[in-house]
């Protein structure tokens, strides 16, 4: 594994940084929030990203993608994370899109992937249930056999990017009990199908998330994604990939909020000197710097391991998520403390990073969860 960017990757990263700086300042996110925008993102900007080839970058060429991998996608997502761009990358592209590409039938892929890669269609993955915490297999939504198909009933919570989505992939139980890895099946459900209710939930980070209710939603046999009862393993793989994408977004966020902090340390004066000349703050800044460096290495390693299909992949996903969770929260907390009173006001941007750090930390498992997962995967 090479932990250095190739020239092509450098170019992708630079292009992404430039585009995001120009087209997606934090003020854009703030305006969407202030307007109470129901989607919370800009479909137009999503299409522009598609035109730049970003959405398809990690998809196979035969699906219309660029045939590159997570190692490239994370560069784009990091740039988006720097400016808190709320477009549906984690919840839709990396969850729904990847799941369809890997588990979907030829018909499903043909029907949906072109639209997803063009930024015209959004498919969300509705896996999380109330009270499930981070357990992917704690699924109580039931799919009962009905004729040649199934009838789905259950409740999903904080489903990312579900508001305005065209379809949902719904893991439901065709056998077993909550907590079992086996017996989970993934169904592709039209968002406007009878029995589907999608209600916007306002989260602390003001991104697109929803409470989804399924009341006897009819699914035919063609709506199954992957094998019957084999959705648990698929779900785990897709959440691992989405976790790396989220970690890259976190890396961008922590890097930006740390840059803001450094600027403030250099320019804000108290007692006649820049506050960045105080040694206690210098040492704390150096500490944040080191944690971000470690987080960056971890994210790069995890993306490359998943791209290469290495056996260590799942461990490195946990490494990346754990390091990014701790580092982002640390960087955001230090930012607010160093900004002082103004950092506590809604008017300044640092608070947004603090909120996003927490939302991202508590999505797909916090650092404690991933330490336990690492230990289990490492055989102790």
């Amino acid at each position: 594994m090479q932990l250095v960017l190739t020239e092509d990757q450098e170019l992708i990263a630079a292009t992404a940084r430039d585009f995001v700086s120009t087209n997606s300042p934090v003020a854009r996110f703030r305006a969407l929030r202030d307007a109470g925008d129901p989607l919370g993102y800009s479909p137009k900007l999503l299409r522009e990203m598609a035109e730049l080839g970003w959405l398809g970058i990690a998809f196979d060429e035969k699906e219309g993608g660029a045939g590159l991998g997570l190692a490239e996608l994370i560069l784009i997502v990091e740039a988006l994370g720097r400016r808190l761009a709320p477009e549906p990358i984690v919840g839709a592209l990396a969850m729904g899109g990847f799941a369809l590409a890997e588990g979907g039938s030829a018909a499903q892929r043909a029907a949906w992937l072109p639209g997803i890669l063009a930024g015209e269609k959004v498919v969300a993955l509705a896996h999380q249930e109330p009270g499930a915490r981070y357990d992917l297999f704690s699924i109580e939504t039931r799919a009962e056999a009905k004729g040649a198909g199934h009838s789905l009933s259950g409740r999903k919570s904080q489903v990312l990017d579900a508001v305005g989505a065209d379809a949902l992939i719904v893991p439901a139980r065709t056998a077993g009990a909550a907590g079992d890895r086996d017996g989970i099946t993934l169904f592709l459900v039209d968002a406007r199908a009878p029995g589907v209710t999608i209600e916007r939930q306002i989260r602390v980070d003001h991104r697109n998330a929803a409470l989804v209710r399924l009341d006897g939603v009819a699914c035919d046999a063609a709506s199954v994604v992957g094998g019957m009862g084999e959705g648990g393993a698929l779900l785990e793989r897709e959440i691992d990939r989405a976790t790396v994408v989220l970690a890259a977004e976190m890396l961008g966020g922590m890097s930006e909020v740390f840059d803001l902090t450094l600027s403030y340390l250099k320019t804000r004066e108290q007692f006649g000197v820049p506050i960045g000349s105080f040694q206690a703050l210098q040492h704390r800044a150096a500490n944040v710097y080191m944690e971000i460096e470690l987080a960056r290495s971890s994210v790069m390693a995890a993306a490359r391991a998943l791209d290469a299909g290495e056996g260590d992949g799942a461990k490195l996903v946990s490494l990346a998520k754990a390091r990014c969770s701790d580092a982002y929260v640390l960087a955001a907390n230090e930012a607010v403390q160093i900004y002082g009173g103004v950092g506590m006001t809604d008017e300044y941007d640092v608070g947004f990073y603090m909120k996003r750090a927490r939302a991202a930390e508590l999505t797909f498992g916090d650092a404690a969860f991933h330490r336990q997962r690492w230990a289990t995967l490492a055989g102790y």
Binding site: R133, Q158, V204, A280, V336, Q337, G340, T345
Partner: protein, 402 residues
């Protein structure tokens, strides 16, 4: 019967006769107390009755001299009155910065006219006060404030902005620090000035925090004319007044965190955190199912308890006649950081349930915890940052060189 016992019996009788029946047993309930002021509204008319009767008796400011509307009580008598209010669970008849901050300042630094004018109106709850210290450019370095007051005959013309003026939107007067001599060394050109907020040119806008609404405001002064007679102490000598008041404020904040930080476990029951963890993470054999979180809960509870004993130790020592030193800095920094750790732990215990802001699918308790977590991040900033407190500890308690 001693004089004090006499006082106790008379006061008890007076309270039972005069405090409205509906207020007995109400202390510590939703009713946080009456702030008074021109804009005051009284959801409970008995609160107003209680204020007026207590004020007439001098019980809103028990130890202030009678001539200024106070009760003229000795320290011992005031302690008895406070004890009776606790015993009868009566809410205080009046609260606010007039009683706790500007009143004591006027008693120490005000001239006779100022005391005669302002103190009785404070005692009667007629005027509500707020504080105008901080500015956008002056945080920990308060003395670098820039709000200007330029002399114009018998008046000052005030221009500038104060931030973190709590409840300024509901206050009638503000006590503010203004710069009257830009040429002097920064502490030496500051004046302590009283300003009627009804004066033209004063405007107030609320501050929205990352946690949502707050009592904090920005208060703007645009060509505000303030009589020179409203200067407390002397022109350009306001820093002396401010320091006294600031020390007082920091002690109050530190005491609040010292007292509020750790809560004793319920008798025979689990602490709030332990119960929350057991609910959110489940239990196995009577234990919090996740042993790592269980360990974190125990670590937090233990440090809280050790901190509570440390606060108690200082109080016990004070009662035994040992002068407290700069320990209040320790209480501020440790108490606020404990409170932050508490909420950081709570949101991690809640997991995804901590991510609600509003809307469907979230519990009210969880929504409140999330906002309190965000709000707690300000604890280590307001009332003197942790960094300033650590500097104080290093220099004044440990004697380390500057």
């Amino acid at each position: 019967m001693s004089d004090l016992e006499n006082f106790r019996e008379q006061t008890r009788a007076w309270l039972e006769a005069n405090a409205p029946r509906s207020l007995f047993g109400q202390a510590g309930s939703e009713l946080e107390g009456t702030w008074g002021g021109r804009k005051a509204t009284y959801a409970d008319p008995d609160a107003k009755v209680w204020l007026d009767r207590a004020a007439a008796r001098g019980f809103t400011a028990p130890t202030w001299p009678k001539e200024y509307g106070g009760g003229g009580l000795s320290g011992a008598e005031a302690k008895i009155l406070a004890g009776l209010l606790r015993e009868l669970k009566l809410p205080p008849p009046l609260i606010g910065f007039g009683l706790t901050m500007i009143g004591p300042t006027l008693l120490r630094f005000g001239n006779e006219e100022q005391k005669k004018l302002h103190l009785p109106r404070i005692c009667r709850g007629e005027i509500r006060w707020c504080q105008g210290y901080s500015e956008p450019g002056a945080g920990s370095d308060l003395a670098s404030l820039q709000t200007k007051a330029v002399r114009d005959g018998d008046h000052f013309i005030v221009n500038g902005t104060k931030v973190w003026t709590s409840y300024a939107d509901q206050a009638d007067w503000i006590f503010a620090l203004v710069r009257t001599n830009p040429a002097a060394k920064k502490q030496e050109g500051i004046t302590f000035l009283l300003i009627d907020m009804d004066t033209p040119g004063v405007s107030v806008s609320p501050i929205l925090l990352i946690s949502g609404k707050s009592p904090f405001c920005e208060t703007h002064f645009q060509d505000v004319r303030v009589p020179v007679a409203n200067v407390i102490h002397q022109i350009d000598a306001g820093w002396t007044v401010a320091k006294a008041l600031l020390g007082h404020e920091r002690t109050m904040i530190a005491d609040a965190f010292g007292a509020a930080g750790p809560r004793p476990d319920k008798k025979g029951g689990r602490s709030y955190l332990a119960e929350l963890a057991a609910t959110k993470l489940g239990e196995r054999a009577g234990r919090i199912a996740d042993p790592v979180f269980r360990d974190e809960v125990a670590a937090f509870e233990m440090e809280s308890r050790a901190f509570a004993y440390t606060v108690q130790r200082t109080k016990d020592a004070a009662r035994a006649g040992h002068q407290p030193g700069s320990e209040s800095s320790m209480f501020k920094v440790y108490g606020t950081e404990l409170n932050q750790r508490r909420y950081e732990l709570i949101v991690r215990l809640l997991g995804p349930d901590a991510l609600g802001w509003e809307g469907p699918g979230f519990e009210d308790d969880d929504l409140e915890s999330t906002r309190e977590w965000l709000r707690s991040r300000g604890n280590t900033i307001e009332g003197g940052t942790s960094e300033i407190q650590l500097n104080i500890l290093a220099k004044h308690v440990l004697g380390l060189p500057a």
